[in-house]
Subunit: 437 residues, 2 copies
């Protein structure tokens, strides 16, 4: 039953949360003993679930359950076990534990250990789930998603997508330790990292369950959503330059105050975001020079983070906000330098997998699944270059993530268990239907 | 002639500007050899002007010209020769050099050296200026006005005003040098600093000529103004606390962005200042936490510097801006902590000296003198506690000060020379009139 399977997932998430580099906070960086311990635990659970496990040279852990015959393309389910600093217990582990749960449910091997079938479990349903699939299942733990230690992110999925660059071996962490040394600490072979790339024919697709990290599901009163895309992202810097001056002697109408220009622009950025077409726009950094109580600010540097599911809409918004900065600056006798640092395209999620996931959620929850764009990046972004990708969002309390207060209810985990069950069934039926055609 | 006397003042300002602690920048801190050199030069000029010089224990330099009989109360003219870092040549030296010029003109002793009377100088005018005054004249160089080195300002005039506190001897500069050691370096005796206090009966009043450090005279096309007060000043800090969050996943309408609250408030501060009743209001500091491009600001700390000639108006403005911060915070689901650090009352300038200065400016320039409140602090603030104070503002280019670009025209220096001549004459006539009554 999905509630018992969910209880096991909740217990396992708690067990993983005890594995940390730090006392009193959950932190697992790539290459740390804490991450190795978490991977060893996940590998034990995979084996108990009847999966054949292996690790590639970057340290990705893969548990495989063959389908009707060996060597079929795999539906890969999973997430990551590395964390941010002082993390919560669900960002990553939720997708990993749901993947192991799904594989266990399909192999049946796990039932005898932790998740004994209860008396009222319909034997036909269990038997149905254990019938071999027309594809392999892989439960995947990517070795480094958060990029906390090295100046890189999605390291594990980059390797899968064939985007590994050996020059990255020389990257160093804050203590000067190279990525090469960290790969060895993970038990990997730095010279063979590139061999972890997956041949497109090996994969049927990717599906990751993840906490929403937002409040849209909570506000809608629903447990699950289908992710439509990872929003494209622009990052820019607006540097306003006015004239520093004496706060007591400079008349109000003779000032060229850089901070006020930046403040007016930041409110314009907010207004653009609130205009309602799905844009999220944030001024996260603002610094002022000289930054003295009694000196009119001469320089103000403001950052912009802008995201939207549609790249053209996002590009138009960037142009509009750059023009707004110029107009505000001009009206205040201030200049503005505009720099764009990042222009990441939106990620194309598989329409087919979205459709099947949506059907699965609707059938198991009784409500149509909201379609949500992801504001945060995930391994699906690099993976989308080599296979069909999909994600299932699970409601989290208050939208809080990257924080010890991350919280997912047992009922919502159970809803996810049931939805993934149904999704795999639907995909199996669809694959068989294609095979018959 | 005032133009020749002005030329000498311009030349002496240039000579003083060559005395610096730093190569390529003008900096003279209290206790530095550069300041000692500048004081030695000023003392030489005073002696050449026929003044009897002395230094008190804090290092203030006083040159005295007796009046009709020895020991009369003195009209003290002067300013300071310490500077800010990378200073201009006029903030301080202008008032010192005009004071020495005035004393020289009254004693006649300086004429034979640098400022030979020209052929077309009316001998009766010169003779008139040299007639003994019904008060003494003192040319004063305060030893430390800017407070660049130690956490104190107006040190020299505090001593004059009897506000010296021996506990300040333990104050240290950035290198750990005590004020006590710096006083010894100035040639002073730390144990006798308090003896520098001036008995109120010793002084008739204080008059300081100073660059305006603003653009009101420049915009009015006039060289001189009479100062009415030093504005009172409030300093406050508003700390806005919202909720940090993910810039990609947090919906625009679910945010509690501390920076946007601070930005809206900073624009409200500006609007209050622009409302036109003479208030100057500045947000000079704004810092944001966590200050990451992709994180919604959870905390924003903004400073407020608020000045007005009328204390009640200033207090009402502080209350109004505190209420505005609360209202903005409440409308955004943010809290605000309000702290007031400074509440300096406006300085009462002598109505009598203002009146005489205004008459002198009008008679010598042919235009009524603007009455201006000083936005910056000056030695007149502490001195106002023990004697009548007045100040004459001289137009400076672009309002620029505390900057190597400080600039005063020779014509405006000449206008100041003539106005001070006339001011001393008018004060002498007024004193004689009182004596006759």
């Amino acid at each position: 039953m999905s509630s018992e399977r969910a209880a096991l997932i909740v217990a396992r998430a708690e067990e993983l949360a005890g594995l940390s580099e730090e006392v009193g906070a959950l932190t697992r960086r790539y290459g740390s003993q804490a991450l190795l311990d978490a991977l060893a635990l996940a590998e034990r659970w995979m084996r108990e679930a009847g999966l054949a496990t292996r690790r590639d040279a970057i340290g990705n852990l893969i548990g495989r359950l063959e389908g009707e015959r060996p060597g079929l393309p795999a539906l890969a389910l999973g997430s990551h076990l590395d964390t941010v600093r002082d993390a919560g217990r669900w960002d990553g582990p939720l997708g990993v534990l749901l993947a192991i749960d799904q594989a266990a449910a399909r192999s049946g091997a796990g039932d005898s250990a932790d998740a004994c079938p209860s008396a009222d479990a319909g034997p036909s349903a269990d038997a149905g789930r254990r019938r071999a699939l027309p594809f392999a299942l892989e439960a995947v733990v990517f070795a480094d998603e958060e990029g906390l230690r090295f100046p890189t992110a999605y390291l594990g999925s980059h390797v899968w997508a064939g985007r590994w660059d050996a020059a990255e071996l020389a990257l160093t962490d804050a203590d000067g330790v190279t990525l090469e040394a960290a790969i060895r600490a993970m038990g990997g072979d730095p010279a063979r990292v590139g061999e972890g790339a997956r041949n497109p024919g090996e994969l049927l697709g990717w599906c990751e369950a993840h906490i929403e990290q937002g409040t849209r599901l909570e506000r809608a009163g629903l447990p699950l959503a289908v992710v439509t895309t990872i929003q494209g992202q622009s990052r820019c810097t607006a540097t306003f330059r006015g004239q520093a001056g004496h706060a007591g002697t400079t008349a109000m109408d003779a000032r060229r105050d850089a901070l006020l220009a930046a403040a007016e622009w930041a409110l314009g950025v907010e207004a653009k975001g609130l205009a309602g077409d799905g844009l999220v726009a944030t001024v996260g950094r603002l610094s002022v020079e000289p930054g003295a109580v009694n000196v009119i600010p001469g320089v103000a540097v403001a950052s912009l983070d802008l995201r939207h599911p549609d790249d053209a809409t996002r590009h138009a918004a960037v142009a509009s906000l750059a023009a707004l900065a110029q107009a505000i600056a001009a009206s205040r006798g201030v200049t503005v330098d505009w720099a764009q640092h990042t222009d990441n395209a939106a990620v194309a999620f598989s329409p087919r997998l979205q459709e099947l996931l949506g059907q699965a959620v609707e059938e198991t929850t009784g409500s149509a699944a909201p379609r949500l764009a992801s504001g945060a990046g995930h391994d699906a972004a690099p993976l989308s270059r080599s296979t069909d990708v999909s994600m299932l969002f699970v409601r989290c309390k208050g939208g809080i993530s990257h924080n010890p207060a991350e919280s997912v209810s047992g009922d919502d985990v159970a809803a996810a268990v049931a939805a993934v069950d149904r999704f795999v069934d639907l995909l199996a039926a669809a694959e068989r239907s294609i095979a018959r055609e």
